[in-house]
């Protein structure tokens, strides 16, 4: 009984990245908020999409991908090229908030102020109740910030993260790392508000560039902090541990 309770407490969502789940003691702890961050072109979206795509294929885990930058067609087309076709799959669901953003911006009767943070949370809650949802991807935090005029970013972001946590879903927040500062989010507080950080990094070599992944932070997990080469082959991501 005690063992069962412990197992329940330690339920994890697999990343389906070869090698990474072992490092994470089975995956990302359920209902955690994890930042997936890196500079542009570090495959943040592809890596995150592959997690929810494979989670559905393997365990029918329902998830939702909110894209605020790239259009749904563009994202799906890209994922298809990487071997992740969504034909015949009712999950993951991709929400083209980029389109809504555009629609609102072009409407004559646009409201003066749109509360994106609360609106997204409110609709996610309704959506989850109606269709079920275990993982939410938000692509990206920077795009969301661009839509929001914060009076007090610290307090408002804290509230946003708390409301996200209250949804009882695992959240993967894509965050572009500012080049000028050593932080993982624009406001520098996302690091400690989140429960985990997966950092993607590109290193230039003589022959080209290599992609690396490091687990900077993952609460309740005894993980390595090494940056490992991340490769994408045959439709799957893999970290090279040795």
């Amino acid at each position: 009984m005690q063992e069962n309770q412990n197992m329940l407490k330690d339920e994890r969502i697999k990343t389906y990245v070869y090698g990474l789940d072992d490092i994470l003691e089975g995956g990302i702890p359920k209902n955690y908020i994890v930042l997936v961050c890196g500079h542009a072109g570090t495959m943040k979206s592809s890596l995150t999409y592959s997690m929810i795509y494979n989670a559905y294929k393997d365990k029918r885990t329902k998830s939702i991908y909110l894209t605020l930058e790239q259009s749904k067609e563009s994202l799906r087309g890209h994922m298809e090229k990487l071997g992740m076709s969504s034909r015949g799959m009712d999950n993951p669901v991709v929400i083209d908030l980029a389109r809504v953003r555009k629609d609102i911006a072009t409407k004559d009767d646009k409201p003066k102020k749109v509360d994106w943070l609360n609106s997204i949370i409110g609709v996610l809650k309704n959506y989850k109740e109606r269709f079920g949802c275990e993982i939410v991807v938000l692509d990206s935090l920077a795009a969301l910030y661009a839509l929001t005029s914060f009076k007090n970013p610290r307090a408002e972001l804290f509230e946003f993260f708390e409301r996200l946590r209250d949804l009882d879903v695992t959240s993967l927040l894509i965050s572009e790392v500012p080049t000028d500062r050593n932080v993982y989010g624009l406001y520098g507080i996302e690091d400690f508000l989140s429960d985990g950080i997966l950092h993607l990094n590109v290193q230039q070599t003589d022959r080209g560039s290599n992609l690396y992944l490091g687990v900077v932070k993952m609460r309740k997990t005894n993980h390595s902090r090494k940056f490992m080469p991340l490769i994408f082959e045959n439709g799957r991501f893999e970290v090279i541990t040795e």
């Binding site: 799959m89 669901v93 646009k110 609709v123 269709f131």
Partner: protein, 398 residues
Amino acid sequence: MPAEKKDGTDIEELAGIGKRRAKLLRDGGYPTIESLYGATIDDLTRINGIGNKTANWILSAVKEYKGDDALKSQVLRKEEKKVSKNEKYSRQLLEWSTEGYDVSPLEKLIKDGGEDLDRMFRAYEKSIERIEEIKKDLSSLNVSRLDEYVDRIMKMIKRPSKIKQIEREYALIKKAAEIRDIDYELKKLAVPGLKERVEEVRAKLRDPSRLEEVKIDLKDLQRDYKENYFLEQITKEMAPTPPMEKKTIKEFQKKEKGGKMVVDDLFLLYKKDLKLISHHTTQKLSSEERKKLLAQLQTIRSFIKMGKSYKSGMLNIIKYRDKFIFILEGKYVIMALSAHGSIEKWAGRLMEKVIGLIEKEDEAALKNWDGDVNKITSEKKNMKALLYVSAKLSKREA
């Protein structure tokens, strides 16, 4: 030697019992012939797959086994005493026919002295086993709207010689049930924006050879349906709030020139949790109309809950089908007045007055209302008075 178990003779040794029935008895707690000594018809018919006739037959076979050594040896296998094949087959035929199976082809074969008797019996036994499986599957399958298929299979289900046709019919039923379920799922997705695609896929469904293709399309549509749902919700959340002030009443008045204003229903809700305190109506309602009334109440609650268009300090008006609904809140209660015809300002004034009266008289009860409607004693007379006065005003204005 017969198979002697520690505590008796294996049930399969009972002549004519057959493997299938032996299994049923074993699963039912009768592994040996001796374990059946005290059993009754009721005991046996409790076992799924054994009916009255079969139970009777089993018990008489057991009785013979128990009471008569000579007969006992007859029911044992060949090692004990050789029983003629025909007698064994006759017993088997009797058992099958008691279950309603058509055994005439086998009877004819026995009569004609056919050589293939063993093979035929084995085939029959196998067919019956399969038919029993199909019957079990059918009992758990939702066969609504599949009467035609069911009738066809039921006509041949007792004829093991038709097993190939039965299998074919069974496959057809399963496919028809799947098509029916998919069509039902598709219909649920026929919302604006997806309707055309849904109809295209439903058209494909008419060709059963495209079923697999349709299943893929269905999944795509389900995904798009969810995506549309999210987008609709978020767009609604971000829609600009329409002003709901005097200007709106004037606009409504312009649009709604449908003759005098007639009040149909009054709802009183508790402000804190939107629980219904009372409903009063000027009409006699059929059960169908009552359902519509519930939908109306739901609309009122959603309008208040959504909060976007709802102005708490003002008189709100929403259009609902051929009616319009005034919504006004007090300190503790919210009143909704549903009417048809044209819009008149006196409705708002009356509502304000009645809310004031109810809240004044029942303030103590309303402050921390526990859900007991009997505690709000002033509500009935005041609400009735509102209906009465509004009827008078309607007549006067007409």
